[in-house]
Each structure stands twice: as structure tokens, then as C-alpha cells.
Symmetry: C2
Subunit: 283 residues, 2 copies
């Protein structure tokens, strides 16, 4: 079973109550009309919670959905962590139930779904020895209105992830329709070039993740420049290091992509230390 | 209330059983990982059924989802029409329940949702006197891998439809990111140019609807040429007639878009006659 496919037990709250179903007329199902977050909970603490909540609110705003109050989500989290203090938390907010048709119902009430599942069991050496990745053939379409937002329209990711079954390939990289490297199917990317960080521009497509934002911010505080630029394959392959980042994996260095290999991961190690230090004790 | 927003009673079957909910782990909700059809049922007959089923199967194939057997859908339809002989039927097929992560679960079982709601109550003069339409600011991204498919990733349509509330505007037209006119938020388009039909090329974005396909086919049988071409605003506004088509509206002529008005609808009348004659008596 691929390490990114988790079929374990789940615990789910829908609008604050334990539930294993949602109304069939939810617009999240009908149109992908909603947003989501995936984060790690350890010892009952949702890591980088403030950042995740802020991003959830930002993404809701992009779709004109009223974000749930933070206190409601924290209540859900408390109920869940009573049973599962260590888990992957997925928070989905949909526009809510709506009649047939694209028009937003006047009185729609957003629906929140908070689901816990076991933390993924990634091999420890992914972080220390790096991972094998591939380029996906599936391209990302350019849609500035939705770029950066983690919305529920994710067929491009599904099609890209379906391109390989080989469990030794930990991730696939996605290019946009102009040929720029944007992200992995489930993570953001950083390049290291002469001691400086570069991360792909996400103004036309891609998901701007919380871990990416955190790294950009912390790099600056630590005196490491980080530029947001267009990255093409040649540039990626010429980098001193390539890092995959998200809330569950932290930062994995890339050890191989097609013919190119890397075996020095100093910056990846440094970024992982930053992320450990960042883990927010406020929840 | 806008005429395309229907909040009436619904009757829904999920996998052959009456249900008002679906499992929260459905990948249709998580990723928009599925397809749908909307069609009219009159006096217990699903209009253009053979075409709708064929298109459902084609769209499932595009996402590597196993389409439900036609006999199962016809059973659902029989149960529904016993109570609602005249209705709007929405058939949704999702990849089914799946664990967290984009990878398709090995043993996934597609889920079918068949929902009936009242037929829309459009003003009769929309067909005879034409409708007022607008251009949407929201553009369609170019994604050849999904072009033509009526999948559940429909945020572009939701955002486009949210651009106007004026109930006198019956539809909004969508351009792609290159500026070509593609479709309406919920319909396909035809232009009439010197007695010939033209419909926008949908090879890079848009939904290739059943009514559009039927009109292309029947036009040929009736000796009317129909070309599939790139259509820009100037060309649309220079056309002798513009038609909006889908399974619920049939064919509406456009009476006005911004400053341009039309008041002769001979071809629209002709196309509506073709569609009436086509109504498939096989179900």
C-alpha cells in the first residue's frame, strides 16, 4: 500500500456532532464548493494551529464562504483528541446544502467536517536520506481566481497521483501548462541555490500551504533569503537541494528525480529544525 | 429567486436505496472525484436517455471510474418516476469512499446518486422571445485532460454564477483564459452565421453537453452545416442568432448581450422542433 494512502479508522464530527455521513445535497459534493486543511495533531496539540486557522479563513474568503468560528473548531478538536491524541486532522468547510444549480442559495449555512485518522507511517529515512520523486504528465491549468486556495476541486491531483503505483516513488511533481514546476501532488517545493531558498510562484495555480508560508517567514528571520520565482525543470535539477514540504511530512529532501541524484541535505536538516521549533504550543 | 435556483423537494436514491445522505469519506466530496448528468423526465420518460447514459459512461471512463450498469440506473429511475413522473433528474457517480490521500484506493466501489427535483419553471417567453445574457468576468482555465467532461470540479461555474443577482439576466457566458467564448454557466452555445451553425471548440475546457451533441448530429441530417470552431466576442455579436442549449432549457435564443440585441429567431425555432422530435421514446 502506498504510504500516502491511509485507509485506517477515522473519527469524524460534522457541525460539532459525531457523524459518518453528510446530507446528499451538500455543495461540496455537487461542485467541490468548499475548502479543506490537513494538519498533524501530536499529544493533543494541533501543530501550527494559528496558521492553519488563518489559512482556512483566507481560503473561505476566496470563495465567499463564512469560515466557522475558531472556538467551534477547537471544540471539535478537543472531542477528537480525547480519543485520538495523535492523529491527522482534516478540516473541510463546504458552502453547505443548496438546491440544484450553481447559484448560491441566499440562506446557505456552511458545513464543517472535522475528521481524524491515524498519522501516516512514513519511513524515517525519507527525512534523512531523501526520497525518490517523478515528474507527472498531468499539468496544472492556470486559474488565478483559485490559485493558492486549498479548495475541493482536486481532480488534477487525483489524475496526477494515479500515474504511478511504484511504492518507491514518494511523490510526483506537477508542472503547469506553461511548463513551470509548481508543487508535488500533496506538498510544496523549495529549491536551495547557493545557500538561498527559492519556491515556485503560485499566483496562477497550485496550493499555497501553511508549511511553505512558515518556512518563508522563518528563513527570513534566520537570515536566509527566500525568493518566490518561476522554476523550470532545468533549474530544479541544477539546484543544490530540493525540498518537499507539508504539514504531515515536514520537509523531505529529494534524493532522486529521473537521472538526477542528490546526497547532501544540509538545508533540509536545517529547515526541519526550524519546523520543530515552530510547533505552536498555543493549543 | 433566480429561475435557475431550485430549492424544491427532492427524492434521492443512493446506490439503489432511498437516502438523504452519503458517507462522509466519499471522494466526490473530498476531491470532486466524480461526474454528473442533469436531464429532464416527462411523463415518466427520461428524455434523450440513451445519449445521457452514453455520455455518463464516457465521462466515467475519462476519470477511470467504472460506470454503473444502465439497468441499475433504470431501476432507480422507475422508483423515482413512480412518485415524480415529471422531474429534473440528476445522476452523480463518484469514485466512492476512499481513505485520506489522492491515491485511488485499490478496492474502491463507485457510488451512484440519483436525485429528482421539480422541473424548473422557466418563463415560456424565454424560448419564443429570447433571453438577456451577460459576459462573466470569471475565465475558464485550459485543461485538456478534463475538457468536455461533466465532472464535479465546478468552482469556476459557481464563481461565474455568483457574479450577478439580477433575475432578468437568464445566463452568463464564459470565456476561456485565451478570450474565446466557450459556453454558458450551465449550457452550451450555438451561433447561426448565414444559415450555418457554429459551436465553440471544447477541446481545452468546457462541458460537451448531450443537447449540443444531439443538435450537431441532427443538423447534419437536416442538411444544415455545423462547424466546431474558435468563437470570440466579436464573432458572437456578429452572428445572426445565438442559441443557449441544454437538457432542461432545450434551446433559448439570445435576445440581448450588453449593447447587442437580436429579434429574429428562425433557427432557434427550428432547433427546438428538432429537439422535440428527438425526444427518445425508448425508456
Amino acid at each position: 500500500m502506498p504510504a500516502d494512502l491511509d485507509t485506517g479508522m477515522a473519527l469524524t464530527f460534522v457541525d460539532g456532532k459525531p457523524a459518518d455521513s453528510i446530507p446528499v445535497d451538500d455543495r461540496g459534493l455537487a461542485y467541490g464548493d468548499g475548502v479543506f486543511r490537513t494538519l498533524a495533531v501530536r499529544a493533543g496539540r494541533a501543530l501550527l494551529w494559528k496558521r492553519h486557522y488563518a489559512k482556512l479563513a483566507t481560503d473561505c474568503r476566496a470563495l465567499a464562504i463564512t469560515a466557522p468560528d475558531e472556538t467551534l473548531l477547537l471544540d471539535d478538536l478537543r472531542h477528537i483528541t480525547a480519543d485520538m491524541p495523535d492523529c491527522t486532522l482534516k478540516i473541510t468547510v463546504t458552502r453547505g446544502s443548496g438546491g440544484r444549480g450553481y447559484a448560491m442559495p441566499g440562506t446557505v449555512i456552511p458545513r464543517r467536517i472535522v475528521a481524524a485518522s491515524p498519522l501516516p507511517d512514513y519511513p524515517a529515512e525519507y527525512a534523512t536520506q531523501g526520497v525518490n520523486v517523478r515528474y507527472c504528465a498531468q499539468r496544472l491549468a492556470l486559474q488565478p481566481a483559485l490559485a493558492g486556495v486549498k479548495h475541493l476541486n482536486r481532480l488534477e491531483n487525483v489524475l496526477a497521483r494515479a500515474e504511478w503505483q511504484d511504492p518507491s516513488v514518494a511523490e510526483g511533481l506537477l508542472l503547469d501548462s506553461d511548463g513551470a514546476v509548481i508543487e508535488g501532488t500533496r506538498c510544496n517545493l523549495f529549491l536551495v541555490e547557493q545557500g538561498k531558498l527559492v519556491t515556485p510562484d503560485l499566483s496562477r495555480c497550485g496550493v499555497a500551504g501553511v508549511t511553505r508560508d512558515a518556512i518563508i517567514e522563518v528563513a527570513a528571520k534566520n537570515g536566509m533569503a527566500c525568493r518566490i520565482e518561476t522554476v523550470r525543470r532545468e533549474r530544479l535539477e541544477a539546484a543544490n537541494e530540493v525540498l518537499l514540504v507539508n504539514s504531515l511530512i515536514g520537509a523531505w529532501p529529494v534524493a532522486r528525480i529521473e537521472g538526477r541524484t542528490w546526497n547532501h541535505f544540509e538545508t533540509a536538516t536545517c529547515v526541519r529544525k526550524w519546523l520543530h521549533a515552530l510547533a505552536d504550543p498555543s493549543v
